[in-house]
Symmetry: C2
DNA sequence: CTGTTAGCGCGTTCAG
DNA sequence: CTGAACGCGCTAACAG
């Protein structure tokens, strides 16, 4: 049913090798042979068999992407950025969701590896074992990096971003600033927590009981935020470590009838479509999410292209966007 | 560098065929051979080569997904649903963004086809040619269907959904109801427009000038909504055909200082995370987005499994969720 | 139950 | 510039 190089070769009256040369665009071929091969290829409806090609060339022109959950807008934007960069070079991306679970992640990476992806970018799940990152095709970690996994990695300046969030709140006169975060097993979250601590300690205002740790979902964010807001001495401001926590905090505030910004100032990490749609619009630490994916793609392509040398870590800058959730801008 | 079946066979002291049989889990093998092969496989760190396997078995265990833009939450949810269903059967999904452009879509489908995906689900771009859907591996269209492309398709009851939206507005006493939609070249949009027309015509209230057509982005939604709201005789209610249009309408209303629900009632097609976060929360026609992906995956797997018969079209139900954007609920 | 022998479709020497 | 011949890693008969 599928038409092969041999088929078009026969139809064009040349050898299989010659046909392969013109179809694969390598090696010599007379102009005459060239046109005849192309003609019969079109006529027969030839589609190159990437599988066979991959088997011999040892390159699938495919790169794997392992994220927590593609429904998370953060991961979706990463996927888009990555996809844009690699598709331009003829690559396609194989997607896998790991649900922030190390075991599922391990299996996903195995599946991709056995499909012989030319490289992969993964957003490590909390608690991922570094062994998983040791061998295999070129790999770049994104957003987070597991200790001891010496691969390329692209992340944002998490600590600095957190510091700028807290400093903003400090400048506004807040002295009781809480934080809602997911697991510090996630390196980016750990760094954001570290930044939060550093900024507060510098003013002698650090209170560990104001850090509320939850899981990696919206519902977890709600629970963690509620724990912080549902107490007598609740903070007058909170910093949420990612979009789920921000969403959860908004829900908790509504539930407890805590008004933003009057009763509570809020700055969230990561910007989203709807942050300008809510009232008040949210002040956030915005991160270049698409760029994370794009840069990861570029690093990966460089490695696939043979770039050598020690693991490279690249950090992208975040930016404080002041809107209304900490008072009139 | 990579270890092959032959390598483990040698190490285990059996023939390549025997090793292949136990590793591939097919055919006979004595328990003794079995354990020895597994032992040396683990020892050498054998990873099956899916490419070679695919070449001979003519199955890549891979399915392609072509969407407009994975950053659109609608497509992301579809991807997730699809991925969940097919991964359970050992498949992985190859992702491609077509940006609602028929030409990019065509190229994406070609790329997937040449990678020999076992099947693909595609959300056809507006203006896609039916020829693109004729041959190739099993294909299911999702959300929309191109005329004359006789493939399986899974969609929602678009017209009925639109009717229930308009009826809701009608019941509230509105007589000038506008619509903001993207291109009617998209079959789901066309159906939603048809539903809108039908409901209004039944009451003798149809006014074609109240239909504002835009493109497939948020910015387009803003422009189209603005056109409708920025006129003397603006409608007292609008129905937005998808999440981008809804977002755009909200922006336009704010820009023109049109207050919801006081000055304008709004019901949008498709529910989103943030619709309960805005004030007022949005009344919407919710569609089972994850199910669209899941059902598409099931249909595809059935076809891949050899299911025969004429193209099947399945329609999923939508649901009106009344919140606050048409007045107190 | 096991080993031998063929390919799957294509890229790649190496003589002509 | 072209064709013959081999092999990528694996599955699939088919004898033993």
């Amino acid at each position: 049913m599928t038409v092969t190089v041999r088929d078009v070769a026969r139809a064009a009256g040349v050898s299989q090798a010659t046909a392969a040369r013109v179809l694969g665009e390598y090696g010599y071929a007379s102009d005459e042979a060239r046109v005849r091969v192309h003609a019969s290829a079109r006529e027969l409806g030839y589609t190159p068999n990437g599988v066979a090609r991959a088997l011999v060339s040892r390159a699938t022109q495919t790169i794997g992407l392992v994220v927590g959950d593609i429904e998370n807008p953060f991961f979706a934007a990463v996927a888009r950025g990555l996809s844009d960069v690699v598709e331009r070079q003829g690559y396609t991306v194989l997607l896998a969701n790991a649900d922030e679970d190390p075991e599922r992640e391990r299996r996903a990476m195995l599946a991709l590896r056995s499909r012989r992806v030319d490289g992969m970018v993964v957003v490590p799940a909390p608690g991922a074992a570094r062994e998983a990152f040791l061998d295999g095709p070129p790999l770049v970690q994104l957003d987070r990096a597991v200790r001891g996994a010496a691969t390329d990695a692209v992340m944002v300046h998490n600590a600095a971003g957190a510091v700028s969030a807290v400093d903003h709140l400090l400048a506004l006169g807040h002295t009781r600033i809480g934080m809602v975060t997911d697991s510090p097993q996630i390196s980016s979250s750990a760094e954001r927590i570290a930044g939060y601590r550093r900024a507060l300690r510098a003013k002698g205002l650090l209170d560990e009981s104001l850090i509320s740790v939850g899981g990696s979902s919206q519902a977890d964010g709600l629970v963690a935020a509620r724990a912080l807001l549902d107490r007598q001495d609740r903070p007058t401001a909170i910093f949420t470590a990612n979009n789920f926590m921000t969403h959860g905090a908004l829900l908790a505030a509504r539930e407890l009838q805590v008004r933003i910004p009057r009763d509570l100032a809020l700055v969230g990490f990561d910007d989203l479509d709807w942050t300008t749609l809510v009232d008040p619009p949210l002040t956030v630490i915005s991160q270049p999410v698409g760029d994370l994916g794009r840069v990861a793609g570029e690093r990966l392509l460089a490695r696939i292209g043979g770039e050598d040398g020690p693991p490279r870590r690249v950090r992208l800058a975040t930016r404080l966007i002041v809107r209304g959730s900490c008072g009139a801008p």
